[in-house]
């Protein structure tokens, strides 16, 4: 049992390292960037965009323009994570704000 767990863990590590080493293509960037932009648009519809999302998107775009698609994909993923956090914030604050109110 322990051996098989170890083997699985090692396998996952190797797979992870391999994917980290893999070079991203322009298509990978385009897909990651589109996902980030879509999430940021959803945040805009909730009137709750973050400045850091816009900054991460700009950095990703700049990296892609310079041909550095690994950095561009990483930047896009960061932007998507930030946008998703801003959406979560807006959704949870729909009720949570009441806890701060002075009564």
């Amino acid at each position: 049992m322990r051996k098989s767990t170890l083997a699985l863990a090692a396998g996952l590590l190797i797979a992870g390292a391999a994917s980290a080493l893999a070079e991203n293509s322009e298509a990978d960037f385009k897909a990651a960037y589109a996902a980030a932009e879509a999430a940021n648009k959803q945040a805009a519809s909730l009137h709750n965009q973050w400045t850091t999302t816009a900054a991460a998107l700009a950095t990703a775009k700049k990296a892609a323009d310079g041909g550095n698609f690994d950095q561009a994909v990483a930047g896009s993923k960061e932007a998507e994570a930030l946008a998703k956090a801003s959406i979560y914030q807006a959704e949870s604050e729909k009720d949570a704000w009441k806890a701060l109110e002075i009564h």
């Binding site: 805009a44 973050w50 400045t51 956090a85 949570a96 009441k98 701060l100 109110e101 002075i102």
Partner: protein
């Protein structure tokens, strides 16, 4: 038969009890701006028992004696004076069509700052003084001013000056849309936003008088009475629109458009809960 009567009485009592509970719950959810304002002002006077109610309009300068002394010294040669002079001149200068700002406002625009924002029942929305000034310009064939720049700050500085000492007197008419605007403003005030996860209340209710970096945070009570303000940090004058958008950027949130519905409603709420406190604008802040 008797047990049936008991059962019926118990059912009736239970029904009345649950009806009562439902009414209490409904009452708790029913907006009551007057009660809000009372609780809001009590919160600050309890938190700062040494600060007189009217002194909250001096923002961070009301928070401790050293800062109050600084404010008194600043008021000898106020940094907003140049803006006030400019505003007075601009206000008096007729538009190209011969009309002027005075034609757009009650009492020719003098001593009326304390009544803004107003709820316009025709439009069904809140109208701030900044918005009313730009509408006046556009109605007379002039281009609107930027809401965050010096011209608008100068005009509102002059209008605030003519209202100095007059207590905020914001009205919420008996119109469900007005109450909704007030509630939307309240929700905006308490809602956390931006990557720093701050609401307006995080700084101006939970931490007034505390430092955030080098700044002493102002209490929310009376915060708009001093607007527009000269800020040393800005090196110039700032309108209410500038204050709101800058606050949003500082917590890493993308600001809304100046005079968007949300900001208009926020101004309505914040002004209403400071009803009774005197206009002190234009002000100066560190």
């Amino acid at each position: 038969m008797r047990s049936a009567i008991h059962l019926a009485s118990a059912a009736l009592a239970l029904a009345m009890l649950s009806l009562g509970a439902a009414q209490v719950a409904a009452a708790a959810d029913t907006p009551d701006p007057a009660a809000d304002a009372k609780a809001f002002q009590k919160f600050f006077t309890d938190k700062f028992p040494k600060v007189k109610l009217d002194d909250f309009v001096n923002g961070p300068y009301s928070m401790n004696e050293d800062m109050h002394r600084q404010w008194e010294e600043k008021e000898q040669f106020p940094p907003y004076d140049f803006s006030l002079d400019l505003g007075k001149e601009m206000f008096a200068k007729p538009f190209k069509n011969g009309k002027s700002y005075a034609d757009c406002f009650p009492n020719q625009g003098i001593g009326i700052r304390q009544n803004y924002p107003v709820f316009d029942e025709k439009e069904g929305k809140v109208v701030t003084l900044e918005l009313a000034l730009n509408r006046c310009r556009e109605a007379n064939g002039e281009a609107p001013f930027s809401y965050v720049k010096d011209d608008m700050a100068a005009l509102t500085a002059y209008m605030a000056f003519t209202s100095r000492g007059k207590p905020f007197d914001i009205k919420i008419p008996s119109d469900p849309r007005a109450l909704e605007a007030y509630e939307n403003g309240k929700r905006y005030f308490y809602t956390r936003r931006g990557q720093l996860n701050f609401s307006c209340a995080s700084c101006h209710v939970q931490n007034p008088g505390e430092r955030i970096r080098a700044e002493v945070l102002a209490p929310a009570l009376g915060i708009l009475n001093a607007m527009p303000i000269y800020r040393s940090e800005w090196g110039g004058m700032g309108t209410i629109s500038r204050r709101f958008t800058t606050c949003n950027s500082q917590i890493r949130g993308v600001p809304l458009e100046p005079q968007s519905d949300e900001y208009r409603d926020l101004e309505y709420y914040l002004s209403y809960v400071s009803n009774g406190l005197p206009i002190s604008g234009p002000g100066a802040r560190p």
